[in-house]
């Protein structure tokens, strides 16, 4: 298990030298990928298009969604801040802004879209306009014209 140390960014004088040696050692190790970058996925099926974006710390006000015809535009941003009264020792959580435009593969009902922000995940579901099904037209048997003349 990889054990991190609080980096001695500002408080160098308070940190024993052994710490700094350990930091140097750990710094040389390759670290696994962090979750600093947001993950975006788009899933399409017969009924809807679903967009999911990991957005920890993002508030509803930081999200903008617009659908114009078959074009979906999404803009999401976040800017982590240091809590009041604290100084920053280590900063890995990055500020980012995503602006993406998608061409939708089918017409959607934008007025029936649902958007949610839960557990740091933004989810947008755009229902598909139902495909025009072939409509069967019942054929009634009509009495032949000749019969009408007979009446």
């Amino acid at each position: 298990m990889l054990v991190d140390w609080f980096d001695s960014g500002t408080g160098v004088s308070r940190v024993p030298s052994m710490w700094q040696e350990m930091n140097a050692l750990l710094g040389a190790l390759e670290r696994p990928a962090h979750t600093a970058a947001p993950r975006l996925s788009v899933h399409t099926d017969d009924t809807a298009i679903t967009l999911e974006l990991t957005a920890p710390g993002v508030k509803a006000d930081d999200i903008e969604v617009e659908v114009t015809g078959r074009v979906l535009e999404v803009s999401v941003s976040r800017e982590p801040k240091a809590p009041e009264g604290f100084r920053t020792v280590r900063q890995e959580r990055r500020a980012w802004r995503i602006e993406r435009s998608f061409e939708l593969p089918f017409d959607v009902r934008a007025d029936e879209a649902t958007a949610s922000l839960e557990d740091g995940v933004f989810r947008l579901v755009l229902p598909r306009v139902p495909k025009a099904e072939p409509v069967k037209i019942a054929v009634r048997s009509v009495a032949p014209q000749i019969a009408a003349e007979e009446v």
């Binding site: 991190d4 609080f6 990991t54 920890p56 920053t88 959580r93």
Partner: protein, 97 residues
């Protein structure tokens, strides 16, 4: 549909004041009951198991801290831990006579 679980190292910010350290971790997808924070032998461990995604990360604390002193909160996929400094880790102001 097959789902493969991804274990990730959460991005963490560390802040410090005279009285406490504060750790802020990005852990999207997980709920309160899926997060576990432990302090054992000077190592603070964050573990969150959210089904399709899990997070794990450990930090060696600069001083001994009792596990029950750590305050943890989860909101909007962000885990915030506040670790009060024991008296010996706080800056000591020397009064000048």
């Amino acid at each position: 549909m097959s789902t493969t679980k991804r274990w990730l190292v959460p991005a963490v910010d560390v802040f410090e004041s005279d009285d406490a350290w504060r750790l802020v971790a990005d852990v999207p997808h997980v709920t309160r009951d899926q997060v576990e924070v432990t302090v054992h032998e000077g190592v603070l461990k964050i573990r969150a198991d959210g089904g399709s995604v899990g997070y794990e990360r450990s930090f060696r604390l600069p001083t001994r801290v009792a596990g029950d002193a750590v305050d943890a909160g989860l909101e909007g996929g962000v885990l915030t831990l506040t670790i009060p400094k024991p008296p010996e880790a706080r800056p000591h102001r020397v009064a000048i006579a």
